[in-house]
Symmetry: C2
Subunit: 371 residues, 2 copies
């Protein structure tokens, strides 16, 4: 059978470099092992059973998910220890309980006393973590809040521990700042667990983590697990906050040149706002990549400074700040685009085309989207 190559794929589509993925997984496994905690990788980025299997190799198989659709998908693929890390609502408890009835140790999350009471009252034998805020100001109560104990008491025997997420580590300007924030994340989680234990509640799980803090934490005493996710693939934003190098970005969008703007040194590609997402997280980073960095078909930065300057629904406009012979690219030329924020970009696709250092597609791995 003839080899399938990137040139044979309809564009736009998603390309995953297996070697880079493996290097990213190894780097995180080393960082987490150094701190003596368990790695419960967050699969919200990859949403793929094949990636999850690689990410949990040598681990206990524990994972984190961001939707019940992910929980159900990973359960079908044999995962049995799943943390659903978005605040639970009562209407979702029956779906959660169905997973527990099927043998999945599904752990929920809440920061609300009424939702906690609903978890405890549900006949499905559900458990939840109390979510506490370590400064991100998204979900969770302040660690010294009375609400912490109210949620814990509402859960009672259904309390599985505590969790926090230093998502504001994405705003750090240096590794030292990330390390300091990782220590805050640790302290908040440990303090929350201590407060719950002081009133007689069990907290077997003390869960923290984001890619920057998991990589750069200098100690995680009292913590049981960390939940990074985007490290598997890396992206242009993560590279700029020190989570990896540009060579580590493992996922890109394969696209075709659809037109050339004569005299402007610009080309159009069939990767627009849907293929790349409208995420502009690099707008405030040291280097603004527009809607993505343009690479050649082998994923090499041979087009210099070329970026996707504009993204309409199905049109991307590629330009370069310094003169580059973009117009030499014929219509149909294949390029690859490294994403600003890979969680957003990958979510537009139902599969990965896996390559390993060249243009041969060695595997196709599915993804789960939706809710």
């Amino acid at each position: 059978m003839a080899l399938l190559r990137l040139a044979d794929l309809p564009t736009p589509c998603l390309v995953l470099e297996r070697g880079k993925l493996q290097r990213n997984l190894d780097a995180m496994a080393r960082a987490v092992a150094r701190n003596g905690v368990a790695l419960r990788p967050h699969l919200k980025t990859a949403k793929s059973a094949e990636v999850a299997k690689l990410a949990t190799r040598g681990q206990a198989g524990a994972i984190t998910v961001s939707t019940l659709a992910e929980a159900e998908y990973f359960a079908r693929h044999g995962f049995r220890d799943i943390l659903y890390a978005v605040g639970i609502v009562p209407a979702k408890l029956d779906r959660a309980a169905a997973l527990r009835a099927a043998g999945v140790d599904l752990v929920l999350v809440t920061d609300d006393p009424e939702a906690a009471a609903a978890v405890a009252a549900h006949p499905g034998g559900l458990r939840a973590l109390v979510e506490v805020d370590c400064g991100e100001h998204r979900a969770g109560m302040p660690v010294d809040s009375d609400i912490l104990l109210a949620v814990g008491r509402a859960l009672g025997a259904h309390c599985a521990g505590v969790m926090t997420h230093a998502g504001h580590s994405y705003g750090c300007k240096s590794i030292a700042e990330v390390a300091a924030l990782a220590e805050t994340e640790r302290q908040v989680a440990v303090r929350a667990a201590e407060r719950l234990r002081a009133v007689g509640l069990a907290t077997p799980i003390v869960s923290v983590g984001s890619t920057p803090t998991a990589l750069h934490a200098r100690g995680l005493a009292g913590v049981t697990e960390t939940r990074p996710g985007v490290y598997m693939f890396q992206d242009l934003f993560q590279v700029q906050i020190g989570s990896g190098a540009i060579e580590d970005v493992a996922v890109s969008v394969l696209t075709s040149v659809t037109g050339r703007r004569a005299g402007e040194n610009r080309v159009l590609v069939d990767a627009g706002g849907l293929a790349l997402s409208k995420d502009r997280s690099t707008a405030t980073a040291p280097r603004d990549y527009g809607f993505g960095l343009v690479l050649d078909v082998l994923g090499r930065p041979t087009l210099g400074e070329a970026v996707v300057e504009r993204a309409n629904q199905e049109h991307g406009v590629v330009g370069a700040p310094t003169p580059l012979p973009l117009e030499r690219l014929a219509v149909g030329t294949r390029l690859r685009i490294a994403p600003n924020h890979v969680c957003m970009t990958a979510a537009m696709y139902d599969r990965y085309h896996v390559v390993d250092g060249d243009d041969v597609v060695v595997a196709t791995w599915d993804r789960v989207n939706g809710w």
Copy 2:
């Protein structure tokens, strides 16, 4: 059988108000009829056969699409006159020809002489429009460019006419400015057709259109058809550029409150960056709606000024600039969020839950995503 209500649906999901959709379709049909041209609605927003059937009722059934996946989907649903309005690349010609072989009058688009030659050389008997730029500076050559004739000649007998798109109408500050741009769009298309006819090329199709210019054009002499799309649903951005009223926004995201931030008058919802998209088109509009305007479960603006201030992957943070009793909303409360840019938001979902003025789901309509 018990009625299905919005309270029964898993969140986040997509809600479509049938009555508003019909009003929007009627308003556009009247505007287009007034100018005596055909309406070839762009289905890139709706991506739904049921919506397409309503949008072409009383019309010839001609539609516009933005991907070959859409073309194939609509062909399966009986549509036979389809314009694929994104620059064609040679590798996609076989898929296009398969549709023509199946009886679909599929018309392609190009602005490139080499791509045009590939269309003409393909054995599938394909036709294409020459795309010309009327000032958007995306695809298409300037109307007086030599490239216009080069593309037309390369197509030869495969030339089906011309097309242009005044996408820059989205930047207009008044209806008068939109009307002036519609006249430019018309003139450019007609002039392009005249130049091609002068060298003996057939141009049966002279195609223009965007929602603002289709609604506000004061005459379309020489044009044969217009291709608006987002008018069917409207959104917060279109409302601000005069394409409709806030009451016309027909699509919203149903979401659930997942947490409350005590003392901040903020709540969290399970509609984040994936459920809403990261589109921030209202950031530069008169009114910045963040990531969307928060409505009650019936789609009414009873929460005043509340908007989604932040959107992480699965978390939306809802706040209000003026004090509102958001904290009275219990976890599990259902809300609806009107989108900034409905083309981007709807693309995250595989179906519409159709309602008609209340909370009863009267139909479920599928969508086609991907490429």
